[in-house]
C-alpha cells in the first residue's frame, strides 16, 4: 500500500497515519485531537470550496485545512 499526504486523499479513502511532521503549536493541536501515528482515519468529504477537509476518526469527526493536512502522511488501507 502507498503512502501519501492527507491533502491528496479523496472522499471515502481510508488510511493509517504514519507520520505527523508538524511541531510547535500546530503539531500540538494535531496531537491533542488524537492524530498520532497508528490512528485510522477516513476522509469524509470537503467543504464546498474544497478546503477544509473533514475526516472521520474512530469516535468523532474532525476538520482541518489543506495546509494543515500537508503535515500528515498516511498509509492507505483498503476496505
Amino acid at each position: 500500500m502507498s503512502k501519501l499526504l492527507l491533502r491528496h486523499m479523496n472522499s471515502g479513502q481510508k488510511g493509517v497515519i504514519c507520520q505527523v511532521s508538524a511541531h510547535g503549536e500546530l503539531g500540538r493541536r494535531i496531537r491533542d485531537m488524537g492524530l498520532v501515528p497508528g490512528t485510522l482515519l477516513e476522509v469524509q468529504g470537503r467543504a464546498p470550496l474544497r478546503d477544509p477537509v473533514a475526516i472521520q476518526l474512530k469516535d468523532f469527526t474532525l476538520t482541518l485545512r489543506n495546509n494543515e493536512a500537508d503535515y500528515i502522511t498516511v498509509e492507505e488501507v483498503g476496505d
Binding site: R28, V36, L62, R65
Partner: protein, 740 residues
C-alpha cells in the same frame, strides 16, 4: 459548619461540561471574568450534607499546554487556586481522545473525579464501558452520568464531596515516555528538585516534562527564578531533540504524545471498553452531514437557515419591541406630566428615558438572536457553517467562526452589532477575534435601515432593491478589506490552526438555552445602566446647550402671539386643544403655521447648541463629502443610535421632530431641496455604513476586548475611514459630473 471546598469542572469542548455544571449548581450561578482577561468565569454552589461545594467552570480545553488563553487560564487556576477536587468530565462516546486531557491532569497530580458523560450516546453506538475497572486502573473515582437529563449527578456530587473531605496531597502519575525521553526527564527532574525550581507550584517531574515539550510559559517562569540552571537544562533538551530527530525523524514532544496515547490505548484494552458494533459507523450525524455540508445543497441550506434565524428573531421580537417602545413613551409622558416644564423635564425625558430606553429596546432582539445562535451552536450546526465558510473568511485573515458575528450584525441587512460583537466569543485566537469585532459594525444593522430607506426613497426611487443590494455589497466589501488590512498591520500574525471538531448533532436542552441567553442579557443590561446612561446625558447636553437667549426667542414668541391674538377667544381655545377628526380646514392651517414657527425655533436652537457649533466648525472639512452642518449634527446624533440620524436631520431641516418610521414628508423635503443631490445622498449612505459604531456597540466592544483602547480606536478609525470613502465618492462624482 464545615468550610467550603473549591471544586473545578474541566473537560473538552462538546463534552457536556456546561450542561453538567448547570445540572449540579442549578440557578445559583455567578458569571464574571477571570482576572485581567475577558474569558468568562462561571461559578456556582451546591450544598451536600452541610458541606458547601464552590464550583468553578473552567474553559473547555483539549490539553494543558499554554498556547491558547483558555488553556493558560485553566492551568493557572489549577496551580494557583489548588482546588480540592477537579471534576474531569469526559465524553464516553469519544473516550480515547477525551482521556488525553485526563492523563495530563494525572501527570500534574490534581485530585481527580472522572465523570463519564453521555453514557446514553455511548451505549447507542454500541460502546460498553466498565467504569469500575477504569477507576481501578487510574486509581480515581469514575462515575457514569447523562448530564442532559441529570442522571448520575447525585452520585457524582457524593463522590466529589467524599474526595474533597479527604486530606491528600497531589500525587503525580509517572508515565514512561520511552527509552529516549525517560533518562533526560530523570536528569531534569533531579536537577529541578535539588534546586527547588518552581517546586512550590509544580511537581518537579511535571516542570521537566513541560520543558521537554517546549512549553514557553514554564521556561520563562523558571528562567526568572534561576536562568543559569534553566540554560543548562535546555542544553540537555537540545541534545535530546537532535538525537530524536536524527534517529527517529520526530520531535520529543511528539514522542511524549505518542506514549500518552499508547498508555490510554493499553488502558482501554484491559477490559474497560467493549465495542459490540464496529461496523455501521455511518451514523445519523454522518448521514445528516452528507446533506447539510454537501457542496451544492450545503450553502443553499445555510442561506435558508440564516433566513429562518432572522425571521424567527424579528417576527418574535416585533411585539415586545413595540411594547417596550410604547412603555418608554408612556414613561416619558408620565415624566412630562409629573415634572414641570423646563430643563429638568427635558433632561429626564430626552436624555435619560429616551437614552436608556433605546438600550432596553435592544433586549428583545438580543434575546431571540441569542436563543437562535445558542440553538445552532448547541445542535452542532455552527461548527458546520464555520467549516463550509472558512476558506472564504481565511482570504481576509479571518476564521470560519467569524461568520456568525457578521451575520448577526447585519450581514444580511437588519441585524444588530451588539449581539454580533458578543457572538465573536466563539473565536479563540485574539487577533482573529479582534479583527472580527472591529469590522462587524460595518454591517447594516436594523438601525441603519431607516437612514438608507429615507435616502434611497428620496433619490433612488427607481432602483430601490438594487440600491439596497449595492449597500449590502459595499458594507461586506469594506468590512472584509479592512479586516484584511488590520490582519496585515496592527493585528499581524499567523492564523490559528483550524482543527475544528464537528460534534455529533444533538438536540439542545431548553434549560441550557435559557441560562446561556440570560447570561448575555444580564451582562448587557449591567453595562446599559452605567456608561450608556452617562453618554446619553452627554449627547443630550451637547444638543441642548447653550440655549437660545431670550432675545433670540423673542421673534418666535411674537409670531406665535400675533397668530393667536388675531383669533376670537373661542377659536384660540380650539387651537390649543387636542386635534380632532372634525377640525375645520382653517383650524388645521393655523395649527400648521404654529408648528412651522416651533420647528424654525427648534432648528435655530439646534444650530446654536454645542452640537450645532461643532457641526459648523467642521463644515470646511466635511464639505469634502458634501456635508453641511445639518448633516454633521445628524451624524453626531447618530452616535446615540443610527436611526437618530433621521430624526435629527428632520430637526436640522426645521421639519420638527421626525419619526424614523414615517419619513415620507422628510423624503419629499430632501428630494426638492436644491442643496441635496443623489450624489450627496450616496455619499451620506457610504459614510453611514462605515462611521463610528453607535455607543452601545462601542461599550460592548470595550467589554469584549477588555480595554477602552479598542473602543476608541473603532470610533476614530471608522470615522476617518468613512470620511475618506465618502469624500472619494463625492469628489469623484463631482469630477465626472462636471467633465460630462
Amino acid at each position: 459548619m464545615r468550610q467550603e471546598s473549591l471544586i473545578a469542572v474541566a473537560g473538552n469542548p462538546n463534552s457536556g461540561k456546561t450542561t453538567l455544571f448547570n445540572a449540579i449548581t442549578g440557578a445559583r450561578q455567578h458569571v464574571g471574568n477571570y482576572p485581567g482577561v475577558t474569558v468568562e468565569k462561571k461559578e456556582g454552589y451546591h450544598q451536600h450534607n452541610g458541606q458547601s461545594l464552590h464550583l468553578v467552570d473552567l474553559p473547555g480545553i483539549y490539553s494543558l499546554t499554554a498556547y491558547s488563553l483558555d488553556e493558560r487560564i485553566a492551568r493557572d487556576f489549577l496551580v494557583s487556586e489548588r482546588p480540592r477536587v477537579v471534576i474531569n468530565i469526559v465524553d464516553a462516546s469519544n473516550l480515547e481522545r477525551n482521556l488525553y486531557l485526563t492523563v495530563q491532569f494525572l501527570e500534574l497530580g490534581v485530585p481527580l473525579v472522572l465523570a463519564l458523560n453521555m453514557m446514553d450516546e455511548a451505549k447507542a453506538r454500541g460502546i460498553d464501558i466498565d467504569s469500575e475497572e477504569l477507576g481501578n486502573l487510574l486509581r480515581i473515582p469514575v462515575i457514569q452520568t447523562v448530564a442532559r437529563v441529570g442522571k448520575g449527578t447525585d452520585e457524582l456530587v457524593r463522590a466529589v464531596a467524599k474526595a474533597s473531605a479527604e486530606e491528600h496531597s497531589w500525587l503525580p502519575l509517572r508515565l514512561s515516555y520511552g527509552p529516549d525521553v525517560d533518562p533526560v526527564l530523570d536528569t531534569l527532574e533531579k536537577a529541578i528538585e535539588d534546586a527547588g525550581l518552581l517546586t512550590d507550584l509544580y511537581p518537579p517531574r511535571w516542570t521537566a516534562l513541560k520543558m521537554v515539550e517546549g512549553d514557553e510559559a514554564i521556561v520563562e517562569k523558571a528562567s526568572q527564578q534561576d536562568r543559569g540552571l534553566v540554560n543548562r537544562l535546555l542544553q540537555h533538551i537540545e541534545d535530546l531533540t537532535a538525537h530524536v530527530k536524527s534517529t527517529l525523524d520526530a520531535y520529543p514532544e511528539a514522542l511524549i504524545a505518542d506514549y500518552r496515547y499508547g498508555f490510554i490505548r493499553a488502558l482501554l484494552k484491559e477490559r474497560v471498553i467493549r465495542r459490540s458494533d464496529t461496523e455501521g459507523r455511518l451514523n445519523l450525524s454522518n448521514r445528516l452531514d452528507q446533506v447539510l455540508t454537501n457542496s451544492f445543497l450545503g450553502p443553499l441550506l445555510m442561506l435558508t437557515i440564516i433566513y429562518g434565524m432572522y425571521a424567527f428573531t424579528f417576527t418574535l421580537s416585533e411585539f415586545p419591541v413595540g411594547l417596550f417602545e410604547s412603555g418608554i413613551e408612556k414613561l416619558g409622558e408620565a415624566a412630562k406630566f409629573m415634572i414641570p416644564d423646563g430643563m429638568l423635564q427635558s433632561l429626564i425625558v430626552s436624555g435619560v428615558i429616551d437614552g436608556v430606553g433605546g438600550v432596553i429596546g435592544f433586549v428583545p432582539i438580543i434575546t431571540f438572536m441569542f436563543l437562535a445562535i445558542t440553538f445552532l451552536e448547541d445542535t452542532g450546526y455552527l461548527a458546520r457553517a464555520a467549516y463550509m465558510l472558512d476558506r472564504v473568511f481565511r482570504l481576509f485573515g479571518l476564521h470560519g467562526n467569524s461568520f456568525m458575528p457578521f451575520i448577526v450584525s447585519g450581514g444580511i441587512a437588519g441585524g444588530c452589532a451588539v449581539p454580533g460583537v458578543m457572538a465573536a466569543r466563539t473565536l479563540s485566537n485574539s487577533r482573529e477575534r479582534l479583527a472580527t469585532i472591529l469590522t462587524v459594525p460595518f454591517m447594516n444593522c436594523g438601525a441603519k435601515l431607516p437612514v438608507f430607506a429615507l435616502l434611497v426613497g428620496a433619490f433612488f426611487q427607481q432602483s430601490q432593491a438594487w440600491m439596497m443590494f449595492l449597500i449590502t455589497c459595499i458594507s461586506w466589501g469594506g468590512a472584509l478589506l479592512v479586516a484584511r488590512v488590520l490582519r496585515g498591520t496592527i493585528l499581524r500574525g499567523p492564523s490559528t490552526p483550524f482543527l475544528l471538531e464537528l460534534p455529533p448533532y444533538r438536540l439542545p436542552t431548553f434549560r441550557g438555552l435559557l441560562i446561556h441567553t440570560w447570561e448575555r442579557i444580564w451582562l448587557y443590561l449591567k453595562k446599559a445602566g452605567t456608561i450608556i446612561l452617562l453618554i446619553s446625558i452627554l449627547l443630550w447636553t451637547m444638543m441642548t446647550f447653550p440655549q437660545l437667549s431670550d432675545e433670540a426667542k423673542e421673534p418666535f414668541e411674537t409670531r406665535r402671539s400675533t397668530i393667536l391674538s388675531g383669533l376670537p377667544a373661542d377659536q384660540r381655545a380650539l387651537v390649543e386643544s387636542e386635534p380632532a377628526e372634525d377640525d375645520s380646514e382653517a383650524l388645521r392651517e393655523i395649527r400648521d403655521t404654529l408648528k412651522e414657527v416651533d420647528a424654525e425655533e427648534a432648528q435655530l436652537a439646534l444650530s446654536s447648541s454645542l452640537a450645532g457649533q461643532i457641526g459648523k466648525s467642521i463644515e470646511p472639512v466635511s464639505r469634502l463629502c458634501g456635508f453641511d452642518w445639518r448633516i454633521n449634527v445628524a451624524l453626531l446624533g447618530g452616535f446615540a443610535a443610527k436611526e437618530v440620524i433621521v430624526s435629527t436631520l428632520g430637526t436640522a431641516l426645521s421639519m420638527g421632530e421626525t419619526d424614523p418610521e414615517e419619513t415620507s414628508s422628510l423624503s419629499d423635503r430632501l428630494s426638492s431641496d436644491p442643496y441635496w443631490s443623489p450624489l450627496l445622498a450616496f455619499s451620506l449612505i457610504v459614510f453611514s455604513i462605515f462611521y463610528a459604531p453607535c455607543f452601545v456597540t462601542v461599550v460592548c466592544l470595550v467589554r469584549e476586548t477588555g480595554s477602552w483602547k479598542w473602543g476608541i480606536f473603532s470610533m476614530i478609525f471608522n470615522t476617518i475611514f468613512s470620511f475618506v470613502m465618502a469624500s472619494l465618492v463625492y469628489q469623484a462624482g463631482q469630477f465626472f459630473a462636471v467633465s460630462i
